[in-house]
Amino acid sequence: MGAVRLSTDFKIAIVGSGPAGLSAAAHAATRGVSHVLLERTDHINDTIYKYQKRKLVMATPVELPAQQGLELEFKEESREEVIDSWTKTAADTKANIRYRAEVNAITGEQGNFQLALVGGEAITAEYVVLAIGVQGNLNQLTIPGATIAHSSGHPMVQYQLDDPDAYEGERIAVIGVGDAGIENALALATKNEIYLINTGDEFPRAKPANRALIMAAIEKEADQSGSINHVKNVKTEEVHDGMLVLRGTDGAVVNVACDRVIARIGAQPPSRFLERCNIKVSGLPPVSETYESTQIPGLYIIGALGGYPLIKNCLNQGFEVVECILGNPVPPADEPLIQKKLTPDIVRTLDPSKNALTGAELIEQIKARAPMFSTLQPVQIREFLIHAGLHYLQPGAVVFERGDATNSLYTVLAGEVGIQINPQNPGDLVRLGPGHFFGEMGLISGRKRTATVVATEPVLLFEVERNTILKLERSEPAVKKTIEDAAVIRQIKTFLMPHVEDELLREVVATSQIISKERNEVLIQEGADDNAVYLIRKGSVTVSKRVGGKEVVLNYVAAGNYVGEMALLTHQPRVATVTAASTTEAIAIDSAVFRKLLDRDPELRRRVEDEYEKRISDREIMQRNAEAGDLITFLVREGMGEGTDVLLIDESLCVRCDNCEKACAETHHGVSRLNREAGPTFAMVHVPTSCRHCEDPHCMTDCPPDAIHRAANGEVFINDQCIGCGNCKNNCPYGVIQMAAMPEEKPSLLSWLFFGAGPGPGEDKSEYGMKHRKGSAHAVKCDMCKGLAGPACVRACPTGAAIRVNPAQFIEVMRNAR
């Protein structure tokens, strides 16, 4: 203490040999800088090392390039290949790695850091690169018996699973229902009997894909392979040899006989270690653009601990931080992608004094100009910036048109746009200036644009994709609130009354609330006494009434309309039940306030009364026509309520020739995305297994490479960034996505017709055809024949049995026709 050292052991000390740390060490070695990489274990890359054997390590985001000269190569491959390749690179570059060197604390300052190792040794360095990630210490069981051994020698409890295939015919209890626990349970279940121990009864922390898989596995019959016993609502009490003792929330003791316990109960955040390094954190440790800690100069934090969990980012950062320490900071790897977006017009608009902007400056500008993003860390903005759009538009240019199926969110960074709120009168504009955003209605409902938006003066727009915003909404409540507040006002304006006094509108907003209902949940109960009016802003509902002991559907109401006005107008109890037909959100408007609106706005009153008349007469017709109501019930039950474009087959016309399937295969590289026969039928209407292009597509929710998009015409498609992970397939409740490799090229149709060459039209499902396919399996689904002259299935139907319809319109037409 006190003595100032004249020289340090190393210039750079790197802590942690994950992708970030290893990359830094390899680059320091290449650049000939004195360095040491301190690794706690006896191998590199402990986190990936502990992945299940043969697990595929994913390389996302696809667009992100590697830094020029980056030592560690990385592409999507198996855990083993990644570790082998990096071990070799580390050896080739002669990176100086010290294994079994666990750092206990870091003290000192730039130029003279002291790293105290466990065991008492200390290492000094001018700079420290902290790349320890967040997977450091796995949580361990603290119950009695957690350390005892099984009678056959192995410890009863383990905290990792290297190779699921190494276990066979065992009874294994897996504790923990996060992704790790679920993945372990699923991998082990094929050859072992699994008890999945859950303190609750659901899987809230798991990715949706894993959740779907585990629920499917639990539902399987117990004697089928791959089935898992779900032990719910229990806490662990004690471990014995061959036994795990649990206690239920009801107090009952549950004994699970097992040969092995695998506990996957999370990891300890390294907060105590950071405290010992004098880094104060709540959330992510704050760092500068060059990843230097803002609290301790000379100490750099990269990788997952700095907020970048993706391997590609980690590798680049290791490289960048070494260059930065050497005094020649390189721009981040995504900088060229960002620069491509920065046209001279955009730079001039953002900062007239400059000819060019760096990515970091652009982010500052976005934070300053778009209040929605002002609370985000630059890191978070940078992450989605490469996918986002910057548009500079001249007055009169159309941003999007009413009826477009796009659903990204736009923010005005400079200039002004006008929203055409009245389709009949394009001059009727609501103007939005800098800092305002628009497009949130499509974002919430997933429906087509409700209004055309044009630039009214030169305008700079920042466009962010729907998926990005949905992810942000989940992680940043502030973003969600900003969007929600604005959305309610606009929805009330758009769907009910375009020109309402602000004071009145404020009263409406203050007293209204958002109600969310899952499919089949009841929004309004027949006979109830409440009388709020509900403005449906997402999803759709059915209106039904009990007639002679049977629920008869009277109406189907889609987003953008209101329900529940009858009770209000007639001062009677509810006359019908309103049930969500898909995941639905409604704005509940207080009845007193709604009455006040009607009194103040004669135009609104007239519209509401007209609609009331129409609905009353519709109901008369529908009550006498049970068949149409039954068909609506069927279609809604089959999830039609959330589709935008559904293939329906009239079975009284369908001759089962399967030409639709053949046409689909022939126009889509030999794989049919449609299964005609599968799927339910009701009253001659058959719903084949084919994508219905949901308003809020389930498949998009968890796509690691973000490969699923919605095109302007509404079709949901998968682009060539698909990595074949199968999440979308598992998330689709309608089973319309399959994992398939493409068949080989076939001889021409005439060769088949005249000489019988090749398998003929349609997907070659013969044994030979299934075996001889090209490349790896990727997710394939209906893309509505994007770019062709209409859907091939419909065009190829010889009898007119197949049609593609918008369900809401179809139901409307059907109601009117009967």
Partner: protein, 312 residues
């Protein structure tokens, strides 16, 4: 309203229309066309005076003959067109995001239904056109052979239309909102139960049940498919033999007997429905085995007819 709006509206209207049968396509457009062609042919036949006996010669005869021959070729071409799904572009770009063509959007989506509608009505019109072309002269020659083949092809086609109108609805009703796979799964489940139940039983009973388990075919030869007649069906036999068994008296055996009988009845009903399904499908397919080969025979005979008339 801009052009693209009009196109979009037309497309919406087209897609809003409910299912329309190929027979009623576009308000019977091709029926009307065929009737016009028939009327025109009759007028031609009656109005243009022959210079001898009425037969295929003379300009009216040649016109009818040429129209008929071209129609035959065009009708045959249907088989090729049915299997070409997009003539301009065989495959979609794998994951292209090219802007869709709005002109394409407005095109009638049911391309093949339109073609089939025309195929049926113009094919029927051919009967009249070709008959008038013959001038009602028939004999044991290649000319009449071509005519006879044509009539057979058309007759099989008429059967096809009838089958296409008749069986789809019956097929659906037969399935009672279930898929073939679901029906089969039920049969498999019953079989599994029968197998379990039969294990502790005596040989006589086991043999009866095994007959049902081992020999209950669905489908098979074309004859079976079309007739739905399976004389050696193990399940039917098992039920008959169970029925014929002497009364075992009250008690456990009686219960087992009743249970097996119920299960076999259930299975027989399911198998009956599956066979009916197969039968309907076969009835919708079988005529093509006549229609298509005879078409090629017709083409050959037609060629012989034309060559012999003009060059021999």
């Amino acid at each position: 309203m801009s052009m693209s709006d009009t196109a979009a509206l037309a497309a919406t209207r087209g897609r809003l229309s409910r299912h329309v049968s190929f027979l009623a396509y576009d308000n019977f457009r091709y029926l009307k066309l065929a009737l016009a062609a028939v009327a025109g042919s009759i007028v031609l036949y009656v109005a243009v005076p022959p210079y001898g006996e009425r037969y295929g010669g003379g300009w009216a005869g040649y016109t009818l003959g040429t129209v008929g021959a071209l129609l035959i070729l065009w009708l045959t071409w249907f088989g090729y067109k049915k299997r070409t799904y997009d003539p301009e572009r065989k495959y979609l770009q794998p994951h292209g995001s090219g802007a869709p063509d709005s002109a394409h959007q407005a095109e009638d989506p049911s391309r093949l239904a339109r073609r089939l509608s025309a195929h049926v009505y113009l094919g029927l019109a051919l009967v009249v056109i070709a008959t008038l072309h013959t001038g009602f002269h028939f004999g044991w020659n290649v000319h009449t052979l071509a005519y006879a083949l044509m009539c057979l092809v058309i007759a099989s086609g008429v059967y096809g239309v009838v089958a296409y109108v008749r069986y789809p609805r019956q097929m659906t009703e037969n399935r009672q909102n279930m898929t073939m796979a679901q029906l089969q799964a039920q049969v498999v489940a019953i079989d599994a139960e029968l197998r379990r139940r039969v294990m502790p039983m005596d040989d006589a009973m086991a043999t009866i049940i095994r007959g049902s388990l081992d020999n209950t075919p669905i489908g098979g030869s074309m004859w079976r498919q079309v007739t739905g007649h399976y004389p050696d069906c193990g399940t039917v036999q098992a039920i008959a033999r169970l029925q014929a068994m002497p009364d075992a008296g009250p008690g456990a055996i009686d219960d087992t007997w009743r249970l097996l009988r119920t299960k076999l009845d259930e299975k027989a009903a399911l198998v009956f429905r599956l066979r009916r399904d197969v039968r309907f499908k076969a009835l919708m397919d079988i005529w093509l085995y006549v229609h298509v080969p005879l078409t090629f025979a017709l083409l050959a005979a037609l060629m012989a007819h034309i060559v012999s008339v003009f060059y021999l």
